[in-house]
Amino acid sequence: MANIAAKRIKREFKEVMKSEEVAGGAIKLELVNDSWTELKGQIAGPPDTPYEGGTFLLEIKVPETYPFNPPKIRFMTKIWHPNVSSVTGAICLDILKDQWAAALTLRTVLLSIQALLSAAEPNDPQDAVVAKQYRESPQLFNLTAKHWTNVYAGGPSSIFDFNQKVQLLIDMGIDEHQARVALSTYDWELERATEQLFS
């Protein structure tokens, strides 16, 4: 790994560790290997959002050309958000693409991702299905996001109705996550979800 990248990451790692966000539990960072090429990030779901109380893990891969190119970051924790793929965890955020600037750091990037959870950008979606729901039935979106946060990110709000519907499909022999995706996609209408799953 190019010397400059490793040097930067070491310094940024220390910067994150000393930051008040780490002290406040908003973000966390840990090393995956000794070569400083891969890290694991963690952000807390921001207050007053459906993600509140959840903890989201991020995979961070540092390219050799860092900081001239941005780090590659994706959600490892499944999340229901217009700008994050519900399938791969890929994030649609300008500073991770063409708006990357060499002075940005892991700390600022993690905080930007956290801010993205508070302020979605449905007009530039990563997941079209989620974005459509976000625009057309915001209340249902909120509940779905809360449900996913509860199931995958350890969030506090369990939604009884949703859990029941998922259980129904599980009982029919459907994989739990597959069932949840289908239900979420069809606005929790059991019939349409079932139809899609068995078609």
Partner: protein
């Protein structure tokens, strides 16, 4: 790329850190409007990918980058750092601005150039000294030199060929001009100038001569003597268009009024010293060319010059 911050004594101010490499600024440049500073190498690399300031994304091109203010340079130069060769044992602590000069002399520099003491005369990096073998190195040196020599010889041959070709072409051109000048006044002027320049070039190639005994002058040389002088002139590169005129002017019957008889010659003896004389190679004879003697009175000079043959006394 900047200096590793761990090399510095005490805390380094955040303002002196490059936002790209996170090292201490090395040879810094700043963006024009926002004045953010970066190492030259870092910002050049960044701008080659994206023409913006890496901190605030304002548009910047590499030609707009400016040196940082003196105060920043001074702050940087005062920082105390360890030597690059600290891992090799150098304990020096230096101001950043004297680091470069220290590195040149640092004894611990594994790449410091040392003369071989075994006598081969080569200068080698210190860390290669142990492995150094005079015979092997010198043989390698000879091999490369010989390679170069062969290359140069080949080049020389090629250049000679080219020169000969050019000479042939020039001769043809001259021939062509000679034919043209008969009918065309511009060509005549051009050709005349070329001929004059040719004479000057030839005159400059001859060495100066000094006549110690003007009395030894032969004013009526015979044909045999004239032939010898003519051959010598021709061998020295005398332009063919003046050689016959010059040879005509080796006899007093063609000399200017001031030289044409024994009497006038004796009257004008003191003017001889003004002549700029050129040696006719290998002969007791001098050329007094008009182009060398524009300062001499008209009655002492003829076109294109005089040939004076002596019995002795030419140096």
């Amino acid at each position: 790329m900047g200096f590793d911050i761990k090399r510095f004594q005490g805390d380094v101010d955040e303002e002196l850190i490059c936002p790209i490499c996170s090292g201490v600024l090395e040879d810094p440049l700043q963006a024009p409007a926002c004045e953010h500073a970066f190492c030259r190498a870092c910002i050049t690399e960044w701008i080659s990918r994206q023409p913006t300031c890496p901190v605030d994304r304002q548009a910047v091109t590499s030609s707009q980058l400016r040196p940082v203010p003196r105060i920043l340079r001074n702050l940087l130069s005062r920082l105390c750092t360890s030597c690059d060769n600290a891992p090799h044992g150098c304990n020096a602590v230096l101001k950043l601005d004297s680091l470069a000069s220290h590195l040149v002399e640092c004894e611990y520099n594994p790449k410091r150039l040392m003369p071989c003491e075994a006598g081969c005369g080569l200068v080698i990096p210190k860390d290669e000294l142990a492995e150094h073998n005079c015979v092997r190195e010198l043989r390698a040196l000879i091999a490369t030199q010989q390679g170069k020599l062969t290359d140069y010889q080949q080049e020389l041959t090629e250049q000679r060929l080219i020169i000969n070709e050019h000479k042939r072409e020039l001769a043809l051109l001259k021939e062509f001009m000679r034919a043209m000048r008969v009918s065309n006044p511009t060509m005549r002027a051009l050709a005349d100038q070329m001929e004059r320049e040719e004479v000057v070039r030839w005159a400059n190639s001859l060495s100066r001569a000094r006549v110690t005994r003007w009395g030894g002058m032969i004013s009526t040389p015979d044909d045999v003597l004239q032939m010898m002088i003519k051959r010598s002139l021709s061998e020295s590169g005398c332009p063919p268009h003046i050689i016959d005129d010059l040879m005509e002017n080796c006899h007093e019957r063609r000399w200017p009024p001031g030289l044409s008889s024994l009497e006038t010659r004796q009257n004008n003896r003191r003017l001889y010293e003004k002549y700029v004389c050129k040696r006719v190679p290998g002969k007791q004879a001098v050329l007094v060319l008009q182009c060398d003697n524009t300062h001499v009175d008209e009655h002492m000079m003829v076109e294109p010059g005089l040939v004076m043959i002596f019995a002795h006394g030419i140096e």
